[in-house]
Amino acid sequence: MAVKVRIPTPLRKFTQGADEVSAQGNNVKAIVEDLEKHFPGIKERICDETGKVRRFVNVYVNGDDIRFQQNLETSLKEGDSISIVPAIAGGY
């Protein structure tokens, strides 16, 4: 099934600048794999070497943090909206 994924500025170099892309999958893990298939390199910016979501990146399904759901196993339904939100440091 298709979901919308909102891509943050630091990851747009993988998506040719697109701020939102469509991806296929039944859960968040499948979405990350689908993103990697179309935008090679993006997965390791979201997940660490053990496959877990990095500690300075949060993933939200319809605005809810997946850490408080089933993490990467959080299931999805058609039309869901995923946001990837990394920590941003700048201020000066």
Binding site: P8, F56, G63, A89, G90
Partner: protein, 267 residues
């Protein structure tokens, strides 16, 4: 400090005193308030200017740097003639000229482990306008420890994010992000660029949050959510942030029995 506003003050602040949520009472609260702005840069400039203009009683500014030519595109506290001056001196001149009512305390230093508690403890609210993760986590951890509310923000390129933390009530920055990214993952303004007006938007939100908190309308604060702003698509989004009971900054320390029961390893 006098509880009454002078005729000049009533005139100066008349347009915000008219705002029903603020009123004369709110103005007096602002006059009694102390706010620390960490960083007199892209975020700290607009935040400090609006707070000074609004009549905050005492404004603290901490920044270790001097003004550089490449700062001026976004750091609107400083002018071309300030190049080479300590940013806190430039800030004090501008803010003092804008509003002589405001007491400006400056710290020409970097906020670090050894001075953070002492400096932050004197304030009612902190604006984090710092440009690096160690300082952002230090502001969070110190403010949470001292029970002082603050607003966090970060900006890069055409994007910004911000949230307000009220220790003991709302989720903290460390509930949201457990730890800073490794240095190679970080896009700083120096490396990645930033549009000055984006810093202005987020810095203005920071000042708004401070004013709302200090004047007592806490209901609509940016707590337990992170607001993200993308100037490229001109979209604002917010995502919910939940207080993490196991948070190393604001969570209750787990007992050994709880750790054994959940198999937690301090994560």
């Amino acid at each position: 400090m006098s509880m009454r506003l002078t005729t000049d003050q009533i005139e100066r602040y008349s347009r915000q005193i008219m705002v029903p949520d603020l009123g004369g009472k709110g103005q007096i609260r602002l006059r009694q308030a102390r706010v620390l702005v960490v960083g007199a840069g892209g975020l700290g400039s607009p935040a400090a200017l609006y707070l000074a203009a609004a009549g905050i009683g005492t404004l603290g500014i901490i920044d270790p740097d001097r003004v550089e030519l490449s700062n001026l595109q976004r750091q609107i506290l400083h002018a071309t003639t300030d190049i080479g001056r300590p940013k806190v001196d430039s800030a004090k001149t501008k803010l003092g000229a804008l509003n002589p009512d405001v007491q400006i305390d400056v710290y020409p230093a970097r906020l670090e482990d050894h001075n953070a508690s002492e400096i932050i403890a004197g304030y009612d609210f902190v604006i984090d306008g710092s440009d690096n993760f160690p300082t952002k986590f230090l502001v969070n951890d110190t403010a949470v420890k001292l029970g002082i509310a603050f607003n966090h923000a970060g900006i890069v390129r055409l994007q910004g994010q911000t949230m307000t933390v009220i220790p003991g009530k709302s989720a903290c920055y460390r509930c949201l992000f457990k730890e800073p990214p490794p240095p190679e993952e970080i896009l700083s303004c120096q490396q990645a660029g930033i549009l000055g007006a984006v810093a202005g938007t987020i810095g203005s939100i920071q000042a708004t949050e401070a004013i709302k908190y200090l004047t007592g309308f806490e209901e609509g604060l940016l707590t337990d959510r992170l607001l993200t702003y993308d100037a490229k698509t001109m979209k604002f989004h917010s995502v919910d942030v939940k207080k993490d009971p196991g948070c190393s900054a604001c969570g209750k320390p787990a007992t050994t029995a709880q750790k054994l029961a959940t198999g937690a390893s301090g994560d």
